[in-house]
Symmetry: C2
Subunit: 210 residues, 2 copies
DNA sequence: TAGCAGTTCATACGTTTGTATGATATGATA
DNA sequence: TATCATATCATACAAACGTATGAACTGCTA
């Protein structure tokens, strides 16, 4: 844990790592402060509670991701190309925030209400992707079906593949920390999403505007 | 909690529900025994420890799933059909064991070594699916690419869609507990996997044996 | 130098945790 | 009825937990 960072930042960094690895409940305030080289009271002082620190950790990755994907969704490219960009952006964001899929997975698995930043990012991304899919269905480039389910598949594949990094390492011998393996995985998911959504029949020519 | 079941079975049932909803660490032995209408000492008596009860819960769904998918994989059908059957079997198993994806997601997210029944079922399924994919690539019905990554996508989509049931309910208004919604989701995943793996070009005729 | 806000520190408190213990109850067998 | 393994029960215990408290330290401003 870098001593150069402020105590508050060190706490966030330590908490992110420990929450992702062991979950909220199995991570003690004592473990966090020890890893951050901070005093036991530091969490209460800087954040008020362990819960509040947890929410801070989540906001750190959730808000930028929502913004990033919204920007991609607004690009002036064909729907399938934009969806490929969404997948690339998603995975790129995950590679630089490896804790994200683990924290999200735990929250999705949980009975507790979703922390609001997570609920927010899921809602925004699902809507943005659904809109792209619907647009592609209108112009015939994407096959028919419920856009919301397509959206779950588009977002779910990057999330799950990252989450299963461990299993992938065992099954393929490739370490997802290695850039070559990362781009292999990225290209796989992009190709899979593209092939999964594309209209098999050559897209019928959309009626030209009068 | 049905009183008709043996105390041991009631403990497993209660534990499965609570572990899935709150995770291992946030579930207390007291909560389990209260839900099972059993005495506090019952977990120690019947299983030896909370950990051992957890492992019992996991084995209950992991072993049957591995057997089931292995049977499907051995069927004498074309590779793409067998993969569709794998997806259906996977989802069918999940619908009757809704706790499964939640428990698996938590384990995949965790730093701890995978409990052996989970590691076992992952390994067996990944191998079985990879073999089908490789076979399909040989006969030209499945597009080229690393079979292990295809396997992760095939298994990951049912798992993730089930895990995201909550988000799906919010986004689509459909409750995955409803059979109609279930078959909608099942058919979506089947179609998605099929389209994602199929060779876009018409399969080249395999050389006939001499 | 005095004062003060911001931060760090050691320590204490009341809960909750998983497990151990020994007494009691139950139901089949002798 | 006596015996015995199996099961249930109420308690006890030490450890770990999140948080609160008040003293000590820090660096800046008056």
């Amino acid at each position: 844990m870098r001593r150069s960072l402020s105590s508050r930042e060190r706490l966030i960094e330590a908490a992110r790592h420990l929450f992702a690895g062991a979950g909220f409940d199995a991570t003690s305030v004592r473990a966090i402060t020890a890893r951050a080289h901070a005093n036991l009271g530091a969490v209460t002082y800087h954040f008020g509670s362990k819960q509040a620190l947890y929410h801070t950790v989540i906001e750190r990755f959730a808000l930028p991701l929502a913004d990033r994907l919204a920007a991609i969704a607004a690009e002036p490219a064909p729907p399938l190309e934009r969806l490929a960009s969404v997948v690339r952006g998603f995975l790129d964001h995950i590679w630089s925030h490896p804790e994200m899929p683990r924290l999200i997975a735990r929250e999705l698995a949980s009975d507790r209400p979703l922390p609001s930043p997570i609920a927010h990012v899921i809602r925004r991304n699902a809507e943005a992707i659904s809109r792209i899919v619907a647009e592609g269905q209108r112009d015939g480039s994407i096959r028919p079906g419920p856009p919301q389910l397509f959206a779950m598949s588009v977002a779910g594949q990057p999330l799950f593949l990252a989450l299963a990094g461990r299993a992938i390492r065992e099954a393929t011998g490739k370490d997802p920390a290695d850039p070559a393996a990362r781009s292999l995985i990225t290209e796989h998911v992009v190709a899979n999403v593209r092939a999964g959504l594309a209209n098999a029949a050559p897209a019928p020519v959309a009626e030209t505007a009068p």
